[in-house]
């Protein structure tokens, strides 16, 4: 059977060593701590979590910016941890695009749009001027930075936030990648522009059959963008499900809390207190024993949740949860909020 998966993440751990004084023992920031999934071509996956959940580190590892501490990332058969030299890493990077959160920060302020878009091509050996220009024009038209001649020689500070982000997207697309990691691509843009950019990304994804990892902390946009959602908490994926399935049947208590924390512009909100757990996400250096959410969980099972980490359960087909509440409820609809 042909392996359709573009990307396979296998029990990935990415830990960063903490430098301390010479005598103190160094600890590790366990930014990604046991994540596995597969991503086929053309699918959009939303990675939802708060800051410190590990979602950005996961994306960066997939992009080859961090080296996996253990486990692996396999992209079209290429194993990231086994890449020996710069050349192989180079090849790996060719098929991946990166859209970052800060549109102005992601663009070198001293390069014009044309130069910015030329850079990835220069680096990867596409040096024919005519071909470069052709791709630049195509790319700019695709992100609707038109008329192209108006924008092509502008510098980042001359563009609005939305226009800057379009350049970032165009740059990510210029080598015709197969996967794009978009880390909070619209959270620094104004509300009215966000929708435009999200729609643009969606259109590009569909047109090129791109796999997209869409990272966000804003669950409300997820419905418009992705086929699957992964919820991350404290460096682990606590729930993984197709979008509609998760929104109607959320199993993990954290997911439930997240969903109830999201405001809709409804004036009745002002009259009701939201039911959310207190506390903060745990430190990634010293995560709590057992299930990492248990200190804040109203349904924690004493003796179980505070001693051992839950494995992954599948209470519904294709819907995975790392929570002891579902330990003997495979394929059952229990505790759905």
């Amino acid at each position: 059977m042909q392996d359709k998966s573009l990307l396979k993440v296998q029990d990935l751990h990415t830990w960063f060593e903490l430098r301390r004084f010479v005598f103190a023992r160094a600890g590790y920031v366990r930014a990604v701590d046991g994540v596995s999934f597969e991503l086929p071509r053309g699918e959009a996956l939303a990675l939802v979590g708060e800051s410190g959940s590990g979602k950005t580190s996961l994306a960066r590892t997939i992009l080859g910016l961090y080296k996996p501490t253990s486990g692996d990332v396999v992209f079209e058969g290429l194993e990231l941890s086994k890449l020996k030299n710069k050349k192989e890493l180079h090849k790996y990077r060719y098929d991946l695009g990166y859209v970052q959160q800060d549109p102005y920060g992601a663009l070198p302020p001293f390069m014009s749009v044309k130069k910015i878009l030329m850079e990835p091509m220069q680096i990867h050996g596409i040096t024919d001027k005519a071909e470069q220009l052709r791709r630049i024009r195509e790319g700019m038209e695709e992100v609707k930075l038109t008329p192209v001649d108006d924008f092509i020689n502008k510098f980042p500070h001359q563009l609005s936030g939305g226009q800057q982000q379009r350049v970032v997207i165009a740059r990510a697309m210029i080598l015709r990648p197969k996967l794009i990691a978009a880390d909070e691509p619209v959270s620094m843009l104004d509300a009215s522009v966000r929708v435009e950019i999200l729609k643009l990304l969606r259109r590009i994804q569909e047109a090129h059959n791109l796999a997209v990892i869409y990272i966000t902390h804003d669950l409300s946009t997820v419905r418009y963008f992705s086929e699957r959602i992964f919820i991350m908490y404290a460096a682990k994926t606590v729930e993984k499900a197709p979008t509609e399935s998760l929104l109607s049947n959320h199993f993990h208590p954290y997911t439930t809390a997240l969903l109830s924390a999201i405001p809709d512009p409804d004036p009745k909100n002002a009259e009701v207190l939201r039911d959310v757990p207190l506390g903060e996400p745990p430190s990634l250096v010293n995560p709590p024993m057992g299930c990492r959410f248990h200190p804040r969980c109203a349904q924690a099972i004493k003796g179980l949740c505070d001693t051992s980490e839950p494995p992954q359960f599948e209470p519904q087909p294709n819907h995975y949860v790392e929570c002891w509440l579902y330990r003997d409820k495979e394929n059952a609809e229990q505790n759905a909020a």
Partner: protein, 445 residues
């Protein structure tokens, strides 16, 4: 680049920057003029110790001093036999007497500084004999000299003690020959003076040319120094030398420092640590004593000194400052993006990190230029300047050694000093304005 264009536009708002730019423009114009009007080899020759500056007075004031004086200081008068006709009176078939009368007008109120007569003659064996007779405006004659002369000879009239004792009542020739030496208070007699030159030649074909120089007290735009050299040459040529030295030293050291700081900051680890340690050691080294040692024991050539200065300034405090800036930028999103699309380390350092911080370099290096200009001048004053180049520092050195302040020859010191001052001022003003432009946090100041 757009950053520089923006900078130029903002400069309009800073009058100090504009003033600085104007002065620098003037200095550059002067440099170009100097290089074009006096070619390098000629300048060196004119300033060297072998140079003959016979037609200019010693320690003359600049000519424009006279604008401020009621009693004008006299200028220099030069008269040559070639300007006048000679009368030849043959005596035998080999001997003849050639007479030329040089005449000039002397209308100044003050006495000249010196009087010299220069002879050049051509003959085979027998030296011609020359008689010099001075003729006052009223016709009175005084014989100055009767002697045989060689091919190249100079008669320092003012220093002829015998002449002064016997004929001029003890007064020096440059006073006595222009006044009534026997009056109580000799004053200048204005009028037409003449010098009759009688040449007794003993061979046919003997020629004698003479040149009378009556030295005044002023010369040229800048005056002269103790070796009669026109200071303008050194002042003019000093400009491009100062600018070039400052520029090369500033550019050379800054660019290299910058690149090393970037590389260290980006790669981190042992390379960064090594660079920091080298810098810390280098900061302790005393630059001036080292330069003095190099100059004294090895060579004072300006290129060598420049090289040593650049090398010593590479691992300077700038490394630490720039490294801090690079470390900040290292984690920027656009650097991360560049890594993500596969940029190599070197590419990131030179095409991303450096251009991002480069604008900061500009004000730093503009303010650095006068430091090096002064350094060169200081070395010269210490006697370690380049031995052949005419620089401002060299003038100061000569002036100091010649006791200029003690003798009241203030122009000798002030002219190069003021030029140094203006150079420093111009670059400093421009540099501070640029600093405010490129460093937005200072903008409100």
């Amino acid at each position: 680049m757009s950053t520089f264009k923006r900078a130029f536009d903002s400069m309009r708002h800073y009058p100090s920057a504009i003033a600085g730019l104007i002065i620098i423009g003037l200095l550059v114009a002067v440099s170009i003029y100097a290089v074009v009007s006096i070619p390098y080899s000629e300048a060196i020759n004119l300033w060297s110790s072998q140079a003959e500056w016979s037609d200019t007075p010693r320690l003359a004031r600049p000519a424009w001093f006279n604008l401020f004086r009621s009693q004008k200081l006299p200028g220099t008068t030069v008269v040559r036999t070639s300007d006048f006709s000679e009368t030849v009176a043959p005596l035998t078939d080999t001997t003849s007497k050639i007479t030329t009368v040089l005449s000039f007008d002397y209308e100044y109120e003050l006495f000249p500084e010196e009087v010299n007569v220069f002879f050049t003659s051509e003959f085979s064996e027998l030296k011609p004999q020359v008689t010099l007779t001075w003729i006052y405006p009223d016709g009175k004659e005084v014989r100055l000299f009767r002697e045989p002369i060689g091919t190249d000879q100079r008669f320092s009239v003012s220093q002829d003690g015998q002449l002064s004792r016997t004929k001029l009542n003890g007064l020096s020739a440059h006073v006595g020959l222009f006044s009534d030496p026997f009056s109580d208070e000799p004053t200048v007699i204005p009028g037409t003076y003449q010098l009759r030159i009688d040449v007794m030649s003993f061979e046919p074909g003997t020629t004698v040319d003479a040149r009378l120089v009556v030295y005044g007290s002023v010369h040229g735009v800048a005056g002269t120094d103790h070796r009669r050299r026109d200071l303008m040459i050194a002042l003019l040529w000093g400009t491009p030398i100062a600018l070039m030295f400052g520029l090369f030293a500033a550019v050379g050291s800054t660019l290299i420092t910058f690149s090393i700081a970037a590389i260290g900051a980006w790669y981190g680890g042992w390379l960064d640590a090594l660079i920091q340690r080298i810098t810390e050691v280098n900061l302790q080294l005393p630059v001036l004593p080292i330069l003095i040692m190099v100059g004294t024991f090895y060579s004072r050539s300006i290129w060598l000194i420049l090289g040593v200065i650049i090398v010593l300034n590479i691992f300077s405090a700038g490394i630490k400052t720039y490294r801090a800036m690079f470390l900040q930028v290292k984690n920027s999103p656009f650097i991360e993006a560049a890594r993500a699309y596969g940029a190599s380390d070197m590419r990131i350092v030179f095409r991303y990190l450096i251009p991002k911080i480069a604008p900061v370099l500009v004000p730093n290096f503009v303010t650095l230029i006068p430091n090096f200009v002064f350094l060169e001048a200081s070395l010269a004053v210490l006697g370690l300047g380049d031995p052949i180049l005419p620089t401002w520092g060299k003038i100061l050195d000569d002036a100091y050694k010649g006791g200029a302040l003690y003798r009241g020859d203030y122009y000798w010191i002030l002219q190069p000093a003021i030029l140094l001052l203006f150079t420093g001022l111009a670059f400093a003003m421009l540099g501070f304005a640029l600093d405010r432009i490129f460093n937005p946090r200072l903008r409100g100041v």
